[in-house]
Amino acid sequence: MRPRTGLAVRAGAAAVMSILSCLASTPARAHDVSFSYADLHWKKSEIELRVTVHRDDAATVLGIAAPESLMDAAFLAGKCDALSHGLLPGLRLQGDGAAIALRLERAAVKPERRSVSLVYAASLARPVAHLRLDARLFPANPQHQTFVNVYAGERLVRQDVLTATRSATEVYAGGATGLLAVLRTFVGAGIHHIFTGPDHILFIVGLLLLGGGLGRVLRVATAFTVAHSITLAIAALGLVHVSGRIVEPLIALSIVYVGFENLRRRGAEADWRMRVAFAFGLVHGFGFASVLQEFRLPREALAASLLGFNLGVEVGQAWIVLSVMPVLGALRRWAPRLAPAAVAACSWGIILAGGWWFFQRVLTRA
């Protein structure tokens, strides 16, 4: 009799579960906004990652009809490996660029959030300076958001929201190793941006076309650097925001302007370039800032990342100056008659390119 009674009780419980499941079922959730949490505790030699997901999302992963059943610790304990197996493909942790293996430690019920938590741990063979967490836990739901909290010891160092379109967050350690990692990343980003942004290259080349002595060229380059550093800093710190709709066409116009000035003032003293470099440098700085914002400046290393990016831009700029100046110098020395025509041709090329970008940016951003 007892087994039969037990069966009946279990069946009764299943009946209740089924009713509850249907009451709570929300087919619209298929693409509704759902949320999860990733709390990462970063210590010197180990990492703990607590992933908390809503029971409805967990039930979808597990293919079970009654999400409420996951609020039972014993039931969850039996399912946590399968749940982890379903979630881990969407979860990736890297330290200094190398994958960190996560091992499931335990599962916990969070009834107040109608959620379940999986707690992972990882041992670090050596301290890492840079962590990257990729979380796309429910790829079938493009609306899903994961709230990330990163703690260094007891201190909350990073909060982020990861989505289908931006699914990774990066955080840097404190101290010298963290600083070096920040500089490495952001100097590289600055150099990369200069060399993949032909508009900045053309602007600088345009300023150099009229030539001049080393001192004059240095003054022009410095004016540009000082100006874009100012606006890059104030925009990156969120003190001023200028829309890309305004900045990007203005950058294109700055190139057109420099091209025309080169044609107009060929015979004149070239000191106007310093003023132009400074004025338009302010505009280009806002352009650099929009790139930097895509990186999401690490709040824990704001100054270092800003400095690193700016340094990268300067390195790229210096590279262009050092490449272009000898060529122009050689041209003037070996083909003095040809040089003015070459400068004019290059100026027209710069005007056309800037004009094209201007219309393209105005039209595509309308």
Partner: protein
């Protein structure tokens, strides 16, 4: 023995039958209301109310975490307009902790971004019917094909924290779809209100109201733990976009309306809906509503 077997099997059959029964009886799954849920509506100077948001049906639901990515604005009209987004932390269920500086009251307002969703044709049509979105339903019917409902939706929720300055309650916050009271909510047996879409009155909009009792502690019941309740009143706005909601009994009230239009971005969706709500308390002692 046969009887024993029947007893053991019956609950499973019952479970499935009951589940299906409830499923069919349940209101359209999409028709999830969304409202701002303060921890209390009567907040004196020096007291603090926690503000959160809830999505659910029957004035019962689940608290939603704060997401900056979903927020267009989250404000409070007091003696001046306050931006509450600065106080909110991503993932927190308590979006803000609000401590009034005077007795004038505060109108809280939240506007979300759009979220795309796709429903089967049957579910989408049922939801249009349920929310009185007859123009959209007629347009779909004219279209002939029973295509899935490709929609994007957003929320425009308000909550009134009781006070004695009617202007804070009656001046629109400027939400795309907004329920604007014409008097201090909860201060009279009828609450006359206006429904505005982009600042203009909405004619023949279906307005619904729910009520949940407030206990002796003067705090609304936990929206996740309370019993769900049926709609206590429905009405339609007149030519001026106005309607009078009979706020007959003390308690926490939710008034809601939905507006739907063809989507401005056809690549994302065919329709876009905006869900507006306002929550307030009608205290047992009516004078408390306009303290």
């Amino acid at each position: 023995m046969a009887c024993m077997k029947a007893h053991a099997t019956c609950p499973w059959v019952l479970a499935i039958a009951a589940g299906l029964f409830v499923q069919f009886l349940a209101p359209s799954a999409f028709a999830h209301q969304y409202w701002l849920a303060p921890s209390r509506y009567q907040v004196g100077v020096g007291q603090v109310a926690e503000i959160g948001a809830v999505a659910g049906t029957g004035f019962r639901g689940e608290r939603k975490p704060w997401s900056p990515l979903l927020c267009v604005r989250f404000v409070a009209r007091t003696s001046r307009m306050l931006d509450l987004t600065r106080a909110a932390s991503p993932g927190d269920l308590a979006w803000a902790r609000f401590a009034p500086s005077d007795a004038g009251g505060a109108m809280l307002g939240y506007e979300s971004t759009f979220t795309p969703i796709e429903l089967s044709a049957a579910k989408f049509d049922a939801y249009l019917k349920e929310e009185g979105l007859l123009a959209a339903l007629a347009a779909r019917t004219r279209g002939g094909a029973s295509r899935p409902g490709r929609e994007r939706y957003r929320r425009c929720a308000k909550a009134w924290l009781a006070g004695n300055d009617p202007s804070r309650a009656t001046i629109p916050l400027g939400l795309p779809l907004e329920i604007v009271p014409e008097a201090v909510p909860g201060s009279g047996a009828d609450l006359r209100l206006k429904v505005l879409w982009m600042g203009k009155p909405v004619v023949r909009a279906l307005v619904k109201a729910w009520r949940s009792p407030i206990g002796a502690t003067n705090a609304p019941a936990d929206p996740e733990a309370r019993d769900s309740t049926a709609v206590v009143w429905t009405g339609t706005t007149d030519a001026g976009g106005e309607v009078a909601v009979p706020v007959t009994r003390p308690g926490e009230w939710l008034v809601s309306v939905v507006h739907m239009e063809p989507c401005r971005d056809p690549a994302e969706a065919d329709w876009e809906s905006t869900w507006a709500s306002i929550t307030f308390e009608r205290p047992a002692d009516r004078s408390a509503a306009s303290r």
